[in-house]
Symmetry: C2
Subunit: 184 residues, 2 copies
């Protein structure tokens, strides 16, 4: 059977993700990835095809982990869920600021096509979930149209978390946005 490896794919993804999250693809070197994961190049290259592959897998891992948080599926569906999504979706702990998926959009030009697919599928899913929650509130405006707006606003919040403006100001914006939504 031979020697067992002393790292799991999951572990590596978990540790590599924050690096890509913070620095993006272009500005992340293999050295940094080795240091962050504790696995050296030879290990990384047996587990992943190349840097691009590792990046895409991190992105997938991120998307899945976000979906598991399930802000938009808690019963009862409604504005409360939308608010929770906006408030707790964009992370803000240490390296992980904003949303890895949104951050990646800026780099599509140099990212493999798969990355584009992962991001857009995730966005499509979010939009559906948002629409479901909005539908439950029976607003006058079309639920899907509102969902689109919410997603754009969310994306804005995410990149703005690169500013050092703090959680308070972001929460204030969300509160105002929610009162606007509730009046639709």
């Amino acid at each position: 059977m031979g020697r067992p490896k002393n790292f799991s794919r999951e572990e590596v993804l978990e540790k590599a993700m924050p690096v890509f999250w913070k620095h993006g693809f272009a500005d992340t070197s293999l050295q940094e990835l080795e240091r962050a994961t504790g696995v050296n190049k030879s290990g990384l290259y047996t587990e992943f095809r190349d840097k691009e592959d590792l990046f895409v897998e991190c992105l997938r891992h991120y998307v899945e982990s976000q979906e598991k948080r399930g802000f938009l599926t808690r019963e009862p569906l409604g504005w409360k869920n939308v608010e929770a999504f906006l408030k707790h979706g964009p992370l803000n702990k240490g390296e992980q600021q904003g949303c890895f998926s949104v951050n990646s959009m800026r780099e599509f030009a140099i990212l493999p096509d798969e990355a584009y697919g992962v991001v857009t599928e995730n966005r499509a899913l979010l939009q559906r979930l948002l629409a479901m929650n909005i539908e439950a509130e029976k607003p006058a405006m079309a639920a899907l149209a509102i969902a689109e707006m919410v997603l754009s606003f969310f994306s804005g919040l995410c990149i703005e978390s690169n500013l050092k403006s703090g959680k308070a100001s972001s929460n204030r914006k969300i509160d105002n946005f929610m009162t606007a939504l509730r009046s639709l």
Copy 2:
């Protein structure tokens, strides 16, 4: 007096800007900058301190050129201006997609501090101008609070222009957002 140089600082900024705009800082090489500007390294380095300096100057140039477009100062002030700002602010011609300033936010980690300053000052100005236009419409909610929301939504639109979803869908979102705003 010696030999006159055959390029102007303005020209260089104008040509280098789209490159940084599209590829960001980390993924733009000096080679690309030479090719795009038609000025070789030695020329670039006599005009600018280094790559970081050139980037910041491009950013400044961008911000100034955007301010000159003056969407938010046309009389009469009001929702119309806000709508125009959202619709025509994020560019979409060729290399230039979205907003260079918003794009740059993603790279603060590796950008010189000056870049942060340029971006935040620009945002502060935009917020003030937005607030003025909103104030003119006398909404129930505080004008500054609305202005903040608009800026976040704008930022979202900007990064979303990296998606191939087209101008139509973005305009639809803006229309919906504007009807929400007008009801505040």
